[in-house]
Symmetry: C2
Subunit: 249 residues, 2 copies
DNA sequence: TGGTGCGGTTGACCTGGTGGAACTCCAGGA
DNA sequence: TCCTGGAGTTCCACCAGGTCAACCGCACCA
């Protein structure tokens, strides 16, 4: 049954995007799409809740995949009742939440690259219709929300970590989107390495930032300690080392 | 004329938000709002392009202020013709673009805090209506876009800086929104200090991140040098200082 | 054979949003 | 003084997205 449904589903999606790009989004009525997909108008609205949704049909699924994938890395969250008790959560050293978020974002990227022609068609359509660009923004934000909540739930709950989490989630999504758009404009390139590099930069900045000004402000998970010293460019190496020595008290 | 217009304008806005919160957004027709504001339905649509827009009327103005304010800090961009010639732009040491973005975000924050009851009423409304939350997302994203473009246009155009700019803009917006929401839930608090601190953290992370892995990867504008050393938590101060000494070659 | 439930269909209906035509008011110009 | 043009308003008709409720066909099951 599912096979049949997804078949007619995909049929309707293709018909819709085709019509939209050929004769414009506004000038295409839902009735036309329904006719093209051989269903009634009401059935169209049953399957896709709105005219816009047909364009972003698979996004919802992808988002769900991401949420499930993230949830899978923190099994202790399954019984939310118990997890109330351990305020300071036991840290699983195998899982780096920042890395997990990057993994999730990478999955999204790969999904789009994998669905090459679908993604390109949708991108061409979005270029024309600002209303749809806005709509995509909303779904994009859902990823950010999922990432933020994941980090909030897995990392220690102090304030500066929270800020870092919010910033990291937003950064990952924004950078991912920028690189994805770059690929969409030039699908011949292989931007996976760029994505990896950018994510690595973000992770580095996040770990540094989570230290904050206070030297003991919540150790990063890896059992290490980060020292940041800002000195004059003219300072010699010995001078710098002394500054660091002093900073450590 | 402008005074009269803004007067009836505000009247309509207040009437609309009042009706929305009292009897629900969906259940309030545009005709009711128009009647309450003593104008015809057509006039309503002339003034506010849509039913949603009436809720976010001042956001557009605020965004414009932000854009103008940012543009004012880079006078060389006024004649876009000339700026084509200087690929490597002359750096104005008085202006730190990251700081400017934070200033702009702070202005937005202050605006909301200043319009206390308006902001609170809108927040209460948004809590009820997801459609409006999504709409606000879109306007929020316009800030992010403005910030990203500003940074892109003022900073050096290499790849890693671009990534840092995108991440920074997204972070500032996300953190601003988070703290603003915190204030909206608890308007008695003074969260300006928290905002400042969070922004300072973000700037520090951004400057660190723009250095990249290579120690000489483009000095930050302030004529300083950043050293990062990662050592074991158990290491003593001397040991750390030696590690830094070594890192400096 | 006769329920029972479910997805699809149908048609009526509501409302946001657009566009056109008429009207008023006001400024300026011959 | 009268004309004219433009801006703002109102009314009206219309389109199209989206919902609702009733109904239909069909498979499954006792």
């Amino acid at each position: 049954m599912t096979a049949v449904r997804t078949h007619t589903h995909a049929q309707a999606v293709d018909a819709a995007i085709d019509l939209f790009t050929r004769q414009g989004y506004e000038r295409t009525t839902v009735e036309e799409i329904a006719d093209a997909a051989r269903v009634s108008r009401a059935t169209f609205f049953r399957r896709f809740r709105s005219k816009e949704d047909v364009v972003f049909a698979d996004h919802e699924l992808l988002l769900e995949e991401v949420v499930v994938m993230l949830a899978a890395t923190r099994p202790e969250a399954r019984q939310s009742e118990e997890s109330m008790s351990d305020a300071g959560r036991a840290w699983d050293p195998d899982v780096d939440p920042y890395l997990e978020v990057c993994r999730a974002a990478r999955m999204v990227f790969d999904h789009h690259v994998g669905q090459r022609e679908t993604s390109l068609a949708r991108y061409a359509l979005l270029q024309q219709v600002s209303q749809l660009r806005d709509r995509e923004l909303v779904t994009t934000h859902r990823y950010e929300r999922a990432f933020t909540h994941y980090l909030r739930d897995t990392l220690s709950p102090d304030r500066s970590t929270s800020t870092a989490s919010i910033a990291f989630a937003a950064s990952v999504v924004a950078v991912h989107n920028a690189i994805l758009r770059r690929w969409l404009r030039n699908p011949g390139l292989d931007l996976r390495p760029d994505l990896e590099e950018a994510f690595a930069d973000l992770r580095r900045a996040a770990i540094l930032g989570s230290g904050g000004t206070a030297p003991a402000g919540g150790h990063p998970p890896s059992g290490r300690r980060v020292v940041v010293a800002v000195v004059d460019a003219a300072a010699g190496a010995d001078e710098v080392a002394r500054a660091v020595r002093d900073a450590l008290g």
